[in-house]
Amino acid sequence: MGVRQIGARVHRVEDENLIRGEGKYLDDIQLPNMVYAAFLRSSMAHAKISITDVEAAQSLPGVQAVFTYDTLPSSLISKTQLETYPAPIIKQSMLPDLLANDEVAHVGQAIAMVIASSRHIAEDACELIQVDYQPLTPVVDVLEAAKPDSQLTHSTLKDNIAASIETKFGDVESAFAECEDSLELNFKQHRGGCHSMECRGVLGDWQQQLGELTLYSSTQCPYLVRRMVSKQLGCPESSIRVIAPDVGGGFGPKAGYYPEETLIAIASKQLRKPVKWSEDRREHFTSTNQQRDQIWNLKVGFKNNGEITAIRGHVTHDSGAFLNYGLLLSATTLMPLPGPYKIKNLHVTLDAIYTNTVSTSPVRGAGRPNAAYAMDRVIDAVARHLAIDPAEMRQINLVKNEDFPYQPGSKHRNGSMMTYDSGDYTGMLAMVKEMADYDGFRKQQKEARANGKYLGIGLACFIEDTGMGPYEGVNVRVDVSGNVIASTGATSQGQGHATVISQVIAENLDIDISKIRVEAGDTGKFPHGIGAIGSRTGVNVGISANDAAAQVKTKALKLASILLEKSENELELSDGAVRVRNDSNQFITLADLALQLSPAVAGKLPEGFETAGLEAVSYQTTDYMPHSSGANIAKVEVDIITGGIKILDYYVVHDCGRILNPMIVDGQIIGGVVHGIGNAMFEQMVYDDAGNPMTTNYGDYLLPLASEMPEIHVAHIETPSPANPMGLKGAGEGGTIPAIGAMINAIEDALTPFDAYVAQYPVTPEYILDLIDGKKVAAE
């Protein structure tokens, strides 16, 4: 043994089942006597409703129950979804009734739930329920909804503003008064949905004799689901066990709490049967949170040497119909400003606005890709205005190495001053330029233009606050079989957490990874947890697993020292046993040590051992948020006849501190970049004026495909974070955050001869042609 595990390209322990088709996702779970749920959802964006007939549905053979608002149990604490993330700054908090009572606010809002012996029958029965819709005027466009005289998106609102927030530091007034030049920039950002390949799903299994509910949910946050369902039902948290089985991708929207989770619990309890609901793809488009629109208006002040001194602006943010994820998406939009750039004076306000569309919540990166995009578009716009090369412009404005720890002046949402702990932003910029042969490409671009080919290169630099606390605990236990069980609150949707946890433990205890079993995503196996959000899990479980394993090692050496009658410095832990150095005959296995501390051996614990078992639990926390960072370059070719964009190459330099598993980190980065490319070029959730979603299948809503994606070249630097003992920083979203900016900057760069300004994404071929035509018209 003695093999280095941390930092090694260890193959994933998760893969064996998944490549054989032996994973267990929500819809794969079959329980005896199970029945199936389907939902009748609103076909109108805004209407008063009354349910006029459920008889026909109820009497369809195979139907077991029909639930509406009126027939929900009166024992519920509330028939309206409880607030997941309450905040005093929320002016008007709109949350959906678990099933709509008298008003619906978006197409797809749940009105009734049918339980039947098959999903087919449940869906058939939904068709038989009669709903009388009295249409109200829907408000679909976020700018329209933001107007003071707008129609209301819910009839109980005063206006459509959910909340107004801001980020402010420095002296913006004076900075603008003193700047040498300024520019105004307006752009629309549109990010789509999560589109995990597995839709959402919930399976409730109420056990009457135990008074317990086992709730399986395809969720990123089982502890949140437990908390919310317990609050909604008014029952103890300990009577609910939430299990996230294999989850087929999350990307943010599966981190929320949804009415279906409580409704399935109610149905299972009432029918005394397991009840399963598997969201279909159309429902995913109309009931799972999305991200969608933000309208940005910015004013930038700068000096003629390129130094940006002030930013002022406003963001109009589309909240959708309800605020079921609080202000987290809004907050993560403003918080990362001004990114890796040293801009001392900034004031940006944001209004979160209700519209009659699906609710929004974070999608991979949350608001960070939006903030990063804003900054990288600002940099490019000023560079163009001053005729400074965009790379040089970044070099001028980036935070320098001597500035760390750097406080831009903004505040984290926990109230502390944002602190960039470490990094090498200018070094990464130089490195990515080198990788992409930036200067060479500029020459190539000039020659290509002479031949009627339009090449473009785009840069983006970013920071990401990661590893959000307070903790993600890990318990490490050696059992009497010599196996090691790690249980944790961390929950995975494909990130490979079980592998990295195993690596950390294997290195500490010098045992083979095959001896480690990771139990996760199950509130019955570990008491506290948060879940996979905000690029936090690797950092939090990494340091907790490391600490817990180190404690176990200490405990093992101490006990072995007593049993072998040797001092601890004469002992070493290797290959599953504590051994006397230089004496291969004297050792005691971890299994035997575990037995000595187990209840199987009568008597009392050895002197100095206060806790039973060869185990330890740790809830390590980071001192402040470790900041990952990176520099990206995209190269594109734009076809000015068709408006088509070909991505030629994509380069990433990323810094997530000390890397636990480079194979997994590269997978996160590459997948994240492709998600960002999807946002930049393809993904668009379209509504018509009546609030009907027009893109509810993968023929209309485009996701990135293998045939269009470039080779993505990834390199790393490792500046260990001083914020935690292992030097870790998060890596889950750093691919996505800069990618949109790099792509749009590249596309705009290709269109330089047309003096085009890309004012929105996704950039479609039609939009490219409009940009080109606009110039031609002006030139004529």
Binding site: H11, R12, E14, D15, E16, N17, L18, I19, R20, G21, E22, G23, K24, Y25, D27, D28, Q30, H120, C194, H195, S196, M197, E198, C199, D246, V247, G248, G249, G250, F251, D280, R281, Q493, G494, Q495, G496, M663, I664, D666, G667, I670, G671, G672, V673, V674, H675, N697, Y698, G699, L703, P704, L705, A706, S707, M709, E711, I712, G735
Partner: protein, 162 residues
């Protein structure tokens, strides 16, 4: 609703059952046969997660009715590994190249590539990308899948020669 008799060979074993005419092959395999390795991602024929092999061709099992597969030979992800349980070169290569994260699209990716590379393992990167352009993966960005397909193709070509 009236039920129809169907019979087919799934992963080499005879299977029969009664299904409603509207039951698609994916539901039949998952619910009646109990092979849940085939996943349903969109149920409208675009995402490719539900791909299985029917008489040698890659087929979206959400677009084929179970009754249409009557008397056919069906291979699902559970039937890809060797009979002795050892992994198929594609499965091995998927693990080696980190070609999966959440694993939900993986069965469809492997069955699509299995049909494509079994026909001819000598394929360019571009051909492989085109071959899986009907399979959506949200996690990996496809790069690991392309590397895995190339590694497996080389092994499959070698096995063909032997």
């Amino acid at each position: 609703m009236q039920e129809q008799d169907v019979q087919m060979h799934v992963n080499g074993k005879p299977v029969s059952g009664k299904v409603e005419a509207r039951t698609h092959l994916g539901d039949f395999l998952r619910q009646a046969v109990g092979l849940t390795g085939t996943h349903l991602g969109c149920e409208h024929g675009v995402c490719g997660a539900c791909t299985v092999i029917v008489d040698g061709d890659a087929v979206r099992s959400c677009l084929m009715l179970a009754v249409q597969a009557d008397n056919c030979d069906v291979t699902t992800i559970e039937g890809i590994a060797e009979e002795n349980g050892s992994l198929h070169p594609l499965q091995e290569a998927f693990r080696n190249n980190h070609a999966l994260q959440c694993g939900f699209c993986t069965a469809g990716m492997i069955t699509s590539l299995y049909a494509f590379l079994s026909e001819n393992p000598n394929r360019s990167d571009e051909e492989i990308r085109e071959a899986i352009s009907g399979n959506i993966c949200r996690c990996t960005g496809y790069q690991g899948i392309i590397s895995a397909a190339k590694e497996a193709a080389a092994k499959m070509a070698k096995d063909n020669r032997n």
